[in-house]
Structures are given as structure tokens and as C-alpha cells.
């Protein structure tokens, strides 16, 4: 096993640990932003994963995947963030309504 292999293996392991931790955060929550951030973290991990895959197979094609994901990956996060924002606004509105009753 060359040094490169070892590093790669370590890299993959770290990515998976990162993804795993994000998954736990995602499952546990408890708040909505926690989950959104966890998903975003996962997306970033995949970009790293693609990079590692490109290095291992010595094929630039996987870098394209990383590139695309890096470009659009935040879109999901943005959409979820907006959702979180609206939900908070709505909940406050509901609470106000309850207060006024």
C-alpha cells in the first residue's frame, strides 16, 4: 500500500465520518436549521468525495461532478433555509394569534 493509497483511504474514512455525523444531526434535529445545516454539510462532503474519487481513478470526469455539485449544491440549502424562515414567521404569527385570543 503506497502512501497515496493510505491517504486516500484516510480521506474517504473522514468523509464518511463527516457524512455519518451529519446524518445523526439530521435525524436528531432538534430544530429545523440544525437539519438544514446537516444536509448542507453532507453536500460539501460529497464534493470532497468526488475529488477523492477523481484522484483514485485518475480520471478528471469525476471532477466535473464535484464542480457541478459545488455550483448548485447550495440551492437545496437555500430553498430549505427559506422554508425554515417562513415556518418561523408563520409560527410566530400563529402564536400572536393565540395571544390575542
Amino acid at each position: 500500500m503506497t502512501l497515496m493509497d493510505t491517504v486516500l483511504t484516510l480521506g474517504f474514512a473522514l468523509v464518511f465520518i463527516g457524512v455519518g455525523l451529519a446524518l445523526i444531526r439530521l435525524a436528531v434535529g432538534p430544530t429545523l436549521p440544525d437539519r438544514v445545516v446537516a444536509l448542507d454539510q453532507m453536500t460539501v462532503s460529497i464534493v470532497a468525495f468526488c475529488g477523492l474519487a477523481a484522484i483514485r481513478s485518475e480520471d478528471a470526469a469525476f471532477l466535473d461532478v464535484a464542480l457541478v455539485l459545488a455550483l448548485v449544491g447550495f440551492l437545496a440549502t437555500a430553498a430549505l433555509a427559506r422554508f425554515a424562515e417562513r415556518v418561523v414567521v408563520r409560527r410566530e404569527a400563529e402564536e400572536e394569534q393565540e395571544d390575542s385570543q
Binding site: 474519487a53 483514485r56 481513478s57 480520471d59 470526469a61 469525476f62
Partner: protein, 121 residues
């Protein structure tokens, strides 16, 4: 490795079937996304798996160098993903519309098209 994929597909199918059987049609949508992934993986795995060799032809060569992954299932999966997205988008909009029209996401309460016999006059 194919065996492991097969097990994964089994898990995906089982969870999606469970989701699809739920009362809330939104869960059906989630199940639909999962089971589409499972179907795509079935096609992908049926073409057998190759690690680290995308089906690309390097410049200067007339064909791929060395053993590359099976390109045909990839094309099929690509098609299937896009079709699946179309179906998903429609189904989601349908559920969305169902909620705004029928006021519920619970399929048990959706009885407009087939009213209970005792409801009939």
C-alpha cells in the same frame, strides 16, 4: 459488491413500500422518490459494476482503453432518472393541489370520486 447493492435495493424497496402504504399521501411521494432510486439501481446493477473507469473514449483512441463500465445501463438510468423526476414533479403538484382542493392529505378522507354507498341518496 453486487450482493451488497442488492441488499440496499431491498431496504430501499421495503421502506418505500411502507411509506407508500401510509395514510398521508405526502409519504407516498417520499416512497416514490425512494423506489425510483431503487429501480434505477436495479438497472444499474443489472449491467454489472465496474470501479473507477467511466465509459469515455480518450482523445486519440478509437475506443475506450481498458475495461470500462457498461455504458448502456448508465444511459438507461439517466433516462429513467429524468422520467422519474417528471413523474415526481407531477405527483407532488397533484398532492399539493389535492390539499388545497380537498383540504386533506389523508387518503382515507379522499372520497369524492367514489363516495361511500351509504352516502348516496
Amino acid at each position: 459488491m453486487e450482493a451488497l447493492i442488492a441488499i440496499t435495493i431491498g431496504v430501499l424497496v421495503a421502506t418505500s413500500v411502507y411509506l407508500m402504504l401510509a395514510r398521508n399521501v405526502l409519504r407516498f411521494i417520499f416512497g416514490l422518490v425512494l423506489i425510483s432510486n431503487a429501480a434505477n439501481l436495479i438497472i444499474f446493477a443489472s449491467g454489472r459494476l465496474t470501479v473507477g473507469a467511466p465509459p469515455l473514449i480518450p482523445v486519440g483512441a478509437d475506443g475506450p482503453v481498458g475495461d470500462v463500465a457498461n455504458a448502456l445501463p448508465q444511459a438507461l438510468v439517466l433516462t429513467a432518472i429524468v422520467i422519474g423526476f417528471g413523474l415526481f414533479a407531477f405527483a407532488l403538484v397533484l398532492m399539493f393541489r389535492a390539499y388545497s382542493t380537498l383540504g386533506t392529505l389523508y387518503s382515507d378522507d379522499m372520497r369524492i370520486a367514489e363516495p361511500r354507498t351509504e352516502d348516496k341518496t
